[in-house]
Symmetry: C2
């Protein structure tokens, strides 16, 4: 039994999902030939997969322009996924509350295969483009939400996630080595919160805290974000008590919710 890379799972269903990913990765409606270029399947095989997915509503086919894009059926399925995504629904009232208390942008995130998966976003000032955020993934090593979670994992989990990081330098402040990251995580663990000091985007700073359940297990994290133009570190850090209260309440409500793996 040979280990298979996750992107090359055997089985017809796996291949179909691979095609779905290909189409999604474009981020814009694509023609069949464009999918063909990036996929590993021969033409007739890919053709049938694409047609099957379109028939099933997993891809939407624009007959006019003859292009494909991720389908509406996904929207419906994701609607349910979202509603059941326990941390998102458990956290919602608390995120709502925090949103009323602060004027900055709030994120709720979770770890997913070493990456940050955003579950919720609030922006009291100008609502809201949430779908554009929930479901989005981002880097773990250079975001507040990511580091907050990372710092509170067990050492083994932490190393496993660190091994998955790309350490791309987004800004001059990005931590680009595992060593630098580990040192920072130590600090975060001690002080109980993480900062994003313009490590991902210049001008964007945030404070973040992990959501822990009773046994100290990391369930997710919450952050408060602003720009260096609109706030100062002192002002932002004043929100720490509100943030602490929020993550504690979420952690309490999520007591018996089992985190579905990293």
């Amino acid at each position: 039994m040979t280990a298979e890379s996750p992107s090359q799972k055997g089985g017809t269903v796996g291949k179909a999902m691979e095609v779905l990913d290909c189409v999604a990765r474009f981020g814009t409606p694509v023609r069949f030939s464009q999918i063909l270029e990036v996929s590993r399947f021969p033409k007739p095989t890919l053709y049938r997969l694409v047609r099957t997915l379109a028939d099933l509503g997993m891809l939407d086919h624009d007959a006019d322009k003859d292009t494909y894009m991720p389908g509406r059926r996904l929207l419906k399925l994701a609607h349910v996924a979202w509603a059941q995504f326990s941390l998102a629904s458990i956290a919602r009232p608390h995120i709502d509350r925090l949103g009323q208390q602060v004027s900055e942008t709030i994120h709720l995130a979770q770890l997913d295969q070493g990456q940050v998966l955003y579950l919720d976003k609030r922006n009291a000032r100008d609502p809201v483009e949430m779908y554009s955020q929930a479901g989005k993934v981002g880097p773990t090593y250079c975001t507040g939400v990511g580091k907050a979670m990372l710092a509170f994992l067990t050492p083994e989990e932490q190393e496993r996630v660190i091994a998955l990081q790309s350490f791309h330098r987004f800004t001059p402040h990005t931590l680009v080595t595992p060593e630098a990251l580990r040192a920072r995580l130590e600090t975060i663990r001690t002080q109980g919160y993480a900062l994003d000091e313009e490590e991902h985007e210049t001008g964007i700073i945030c404070i973040a805290m992990p959501v822990l359940n009773g046994s100290g297990r990391v369930l997710g994290s919450v952050s408060i974000t602003d720009t260096v133009l609109r706030t100062t570190w002192a002002a932002l850090k004043e929100k720490l008590p509100l943030l602490r209260e929020t993550v504690e309440r979420i952690g309490h409500d999520a007591q018996d919710w089992h985190y579905p793996g990293i």
Copy 2:
């Protein structure tokens, strides 16, 4: 070649998607045996399908409780679907704008297989639980957004959609016959907007207008909703000019966007 019911598409991928639907329909994490009860597949077949979907991340498996729910991979795919769902993204700035102008709840919807598919929701008062709404489906014959679209379809399309309606009586005001609905649609077409007079939920009323492109084709619809306790018909109808402006702008921007079918 025999016509196949859409729920019984041959092919392994179709079967897998059927299982995904089964799981989603529960709306809560389910055990394998529960899926078995509602699915048409024999035990080992279903077992393999479920495991395959879980391996692929389309289902999330909670190892503790041994339950399955729609997976996180769906969230990521839906994120892209949403972003590309042209009407949603084209409409966003206009929906934002309307949201700043009125304090009521706003919906953006589209027709999907005879049902209303909600694409966006805004609520200026308390933002916003959007994922919980976008992707949701509802009835066409007894909602403002639904009737607004229905009224402006071609007669053939209209009949096709009417034939798909269940005409369940949700409230004493629900129109429960095709005849009553057709008469109402006539009025809506004449006056250019639809009302929901507590036809779906008691106490909930709304005004809705279709989004039409230059050639009069129905692309979607937008509604402004409130409760009978907070508003009156007179007050609500005062928002009609704002609503008209919104749908016109969306229709204008969506000029060359081709609606992906009913």
